[in-house]
């Protein structure tokens, strides 16, 4: 009889093994497909059961996103509300149970949702016990007044399309980041299909994810590379209006001819032929691309919570890349960082948009300080270049001047035929020790000095006035 008993036991044991296998199948192998099943509401239940953390502007008071409690028949649920509407939409993003999430909402999701490494004993107990945990609160570096001004500058420009980014060159804090047209994240669930089809691309964060032909603002990078290669600001070049390349002739914007000019004046007048010649004769491909890389080109800024499409010179014709045409492309965020690095003695600070993270009861969990990212240029070269950019404003574009304050800047008029050129301006002020650097792009806005320059100047002066500069 014992033989039969043992056999039966083996049968039972086999049954248990089979069940273990089946459990492993459901819990490991089929886990993801079941979690994503549209009939499975557990994920959204989880998402709405606990309040997400607040997102605040740099003043620590203006709420950009908060969770509002709502009674349902199964208990409490939380809706995400964005009191500032479309003003911060491109930075803050949206949190939709149907369409996913963007911006800070996803970039800082582990903090906002409370699913983060426990930082305090309370956190640990909360996580161990598994109760619904409120998320941590995030304060951004954005200055509410400057953000509104930057957005208004874009929305009231001639095309109403573009982006502006302002940054503190000494700390790397993003002071403003505007992109327009934008959208209201409050009703994203209803309007998402319509917004994603809109040719004006309101869902695109032009500051970090939009790549645009940079045009002449790239000349500051070329100039930096040229200075490193031994070119002096006082070196003289003769512009005949054309520079011949195999199969292509470089001409100046509006077919201007400038005659003999110094290198500094060539930057101020934005003479394409001189920059093409310098790139070919003095800099060379490697040096130009290395300098661009030192300024952050090709980088996705992994540590930055927003998604960044890397700027890139591309592999195009060196002569044209040198003045920002052909394959060169850049986002606005990147160009603000370039202006900031030149102004900050060549040192690029790590860009930061999160000022601090606090637990729901106000304990500071993270407060990242300023950190050097890399040396884009040595201090001497950077100062020389900054002086050349002061010359751009003083000698050629006096409309960028702010009374009593020295401004360093560079215009860009990037040709994107058949449409009107993109209007660019990058600047920093006060030029000797900049407190703010900006990059403004008005899509198809025309000449750089017409649209982007006044917008950038107003942002600089407003910030410096408010901050006693």
């Amino acid at each position: 009889m014992n033989r039969h008993l043992r056999r039966t036991f083996y049968l039972f044991a086999a049954g248990f093994v089979a069940l273990t296998g089946l459990l492993a199948y459901w819990q490991v192998y089929a886990r993801e497909s079941l979690a994503e099943n549209p009939d499975n509401s557990l994920q959204t239940q989880r998402a709405v059961q606990a309040p997400r953390g607040l997102i605040l502007a740099g003043d620590g008071e203006t709420a950009l996103a908060r969770s509002e409690e709502r009674e349902t028949d199964t208990g409490k649920a939380y809706d995400r509300v964005y009191p500032e509407g479309d003003l911060y939409a491109d930075v803050v993003g949206y949190w939709s149970t149907r369409y996913g999430a963007t911006g800070i909402e996803i970039g800082e999701n582990s903090n906002l949702s409370g699913n983060v490494e426990p930082a305090t004993l309370d956190d640990l107990i909360n996580q161990m016990s598994g109760g619904p945990q409120p998320g941590n609160n995030i304060t951004l570096t954005l200055d509410p007044d400057l953000q509104r001004l930057a957005r208004d500058q874009i929305s009231t420009s001639n095309t109403g399309k573009g982006s502006a980014v302002a940054i503190d060159p000494k700390t790397g804090e993003i002071l403003a980041m505007a992109s327009y047209p934008s959208y209201d994240p409050n009703n994203i669930d209803d309007r998402f299909p319509e917004l994603s089809e809109d040719p004006a691309q309101p869902l695109l964060n032009r500051a970090t994810q939009g790549l645009f032909v940079p045009g002449s603002i790239i000349k500051v990078i070329t100039a930096g590379a040229a200075l490193k290669s031994g070119v002096k600001p006082t070196d003289k070049f003769t512009d005949t209006g054309v520079y011949e390349r195999p199969g292509y002739t470089v001409v100046n914007y509006d077919d201007n001819v400038y005659g003999q000019q110094t290198f500094a004046q060539s930057l101020a007048l934005s003479i394409n032929t001189v920059f093409a010649k310098v790139a070919i004769d003095e800099i060379g491909t490697d040096a130009l691309y290395n300098t661009a890389r030192d300024f952050g080109f090709g980088d996705t800024y992994e540590e930055f919570p927003l998604q960044v499409s890397p700027s890139d010179l591309g592999g195009g014709d060196l002569a044209q890349v040198a003045f920002g045409q052909d394959t060169a492309s850049s986002n606005v965020f990147q160009m603000a960082l370039v202006a900031a690095a030149i102004g900050n003695d060549g040192v690029m600070m790590e860009p930061r948009i999160v000022k601090e993270v606090r637990s729901p009861d106000g304990i500071i969990l993270e407060k990242p300080g300023p950190r050097e990212r890399q040396e884009s240029l040595d201090a001497e070269t950077a100062d020389t270049l900054q002086d050349m950019m002061v010359g751009v404003v003083e000698d050629v574009h006096p409309e960028a001047k702010i009374p009593g304050i020295k401004v360093a800047g560079k215009t860009g008029t990037a040709e994107v035929p058949p449409r009107d050129p993109n209007s660019w301006f990058i600047a920093s002020a006060p030029a000797d020790d900049p407190e703010i650097a900006v990059a403004v792009l008005i899509e198809n806005g025309g000449d750089g000095e017409d649209e982007a320059l006044p917008a950038a100047r107003d942002i600089l002066s407003a910030y410096l006035k408010d901050n006693g500069g």
């Binding site: 039969h4 819990q27 886990r31 499975n40 598994g130 109760g131």
Partner: protein, 434 residues
């Protein structure tokens, strides 16, 4: 034993933090620990030679069950007190167990009343058809006696197993020897097989009328396995298998709720918010647990209907993950292992068959319900032994464990006698001392 209590206490402690509720669960937890500790020492004292692992295993399983029931029901209106009730049932179960080991130490007496027990079992099952019985979820298996309601089939099962064990032990030699061959298959003589088949068929018939699929399956399969163990005839298993197939198919044709069960098993996606809802929610919850689980209290298995009874395993898998669920399964397997070991070492046929029958029922019940919630087999409404909420189930399983204990006590006594006599009997079956 200490480990089992520690796990349960930890579970409760976690829940208390989770739900910021204070004294009730802790006090009941303390009562629980005290009761089972007392039971453990009681059993060690009264049955010093009995299997030392059974009570700790039962403690762990009921403890895990109690924690899960508390977690799943404390904030649900209408059933907030289920955990308290369950704790009370565990207390009654402990009392019953204690009573059994004191008064039924000589369990062989039970075999003398086997026909009476069989009759009692059939009566118990039949009782729910009486006006006292009532239906829950389409199955009529509840009996109301004043304020207390219970499922008589939980106890009828055990009574029937005692009957079968006694009867088969008496008749196994004749049944194995005398048989007629029909079409090359050996068919036992009706004379000896008759009474077994009669009781068997009768209880099945009643269960089919009561629409209790899970119990029907157990009533059918357990005697079959006992028959196989007693006679060693694979023919019985084959015959039983054929009968089972015919029976299931007939049930499928006759009863709508059986059809629903099969349909939702084969393709629950057909009607995800209707018929397939329960099994799909179960699968979602299980998969949500992943390898390590969502953590106690963080899962969403409350969305499964009947989660605290039949589907409690889904909640365990969801919140404790694959690791926790497998640990619970291993605990069940350990119980089955001890049970089979007791059967192997038992002296006489009746004891062997009784221990084997009880263990088989326990194992099958676990496999069928865990298989049911993981979509391995169609769902049948039975409880997960010791873990699920349910008074009759808990008390019934304590009775089952008590019977195994008294059988193991006998084994232990004999082993000691054998050792003093120096006979190397049953050596090969013994595991190394631990």
């Amino acid at each position: 034993m200490l480990l089992a209590l520690l796990v349960t206490t930890l579970g409760f402690a976690t829940l208390i933090f989770a739900q910021e509720s204070n004294s009730p669960p802790l006090i009941y937890g303390a009562y629980y620990a005290g009761t089972l500790l007392a039971l453990y020492f009681g059993v060690r004292l009264i049955l010093p030679h009995s299997d030392a692992l059974l009570v700790p295993i039962v403690t762990l399983l009921t403890g895990v069950g109690l924690v899960m029931i508390y977690r799943l029901t404390f904030d649900v209106e209408g059933v907030e007190n289920l955990a308290t009730t369950q704790a009370l049932w565990i207390l009654i179960g402990c009392g019953t167990m204690f009573f059994m080991i004191v008064f039924f130490r000589n369990y062989h007496r039970l075999f003398d009343y086997k026909y009476l027990l069989a009759l009692g079992a059939v009566m118990l099952i039949a009782s729910v058809i009486s006006p006292l019985g009532y239906e829950v979820n389409g199955a009529r298996l509840w009996l109301a006696l004043g304020p207390v309601s219970f499922q008589p089939s939980e106890f009828a099962r055990i009574a029937l197993i005692i009957f079968f064990a006694g009867y088969l032990a008496e008749k196994r030699d004749v049944m194995a020897a005398t048989s007629n061959t029909v079409l090359g298959v050996q068919i036992p003589t009706l004379k000896y097989f008759g009474p077994v088949a009669l009781v068997w068929g009768l209880s099945l018939l009643l269960l089919v009328f009561e629409k209790d699929l899970g119990s029907s399956l157990l009533f059918f399969a357990v005697p079959l396995l006992m028959l196989y163990a007693a006679t060693g005839r694979i023919a019985y298993v084959l015959l039983g298998g054929i009968l089972f197939a015919v029976g299931s198919y007939t049930a499928y044709l006759l009863f709508g709720h059986v059809q629903v069960r099969v349909r939702t098993w084969l393709d629950p996606w057909q009607d995800p918010n209707g018929e397939g809802y329960q099994i799909l929610q179960s699968l979602f919850s299980i998969s949500d647990g992943g390898l390590t689980g969502t953590g106690l209290g963080a899962g969403f298995s409350q969305s499964i209907p009947e989660v605290h009874t039949d589907f409690i395993f889904s909640a365990i898998a969801s919140e404790l993950g694959l690791l926790g669920a497998v640990a619970v399964l291993l605990t069940f397997l350990a119980f089955v292992y001890r049970g089979i070991k007791i059967a192997l070492l038992a002296e006489d046929d009746a004891s062997k068959l009784l221990a084997f029958g009880l263990t088989s029922m326990f194992a099958l019940q676990t496999l069928v319900i865990v298989g049911g919630v993981t979509k391995a087999v169609p769902l049948t409404g039975i409880t997960l032994p010791f873990v699920s909420y349910g008074g009759s189930s808990v008390v019934g399983n304590f009775v089952l464990a008590a019977l195994l204990l008294v059988i193991s006590e006998k084994v232990g006594q004999h082993e000691i006698t054998d050792e003093t006599l120096g006979e190397p009997m049953g050596r090969s079956l013994q595991e190394p001392a631990r």
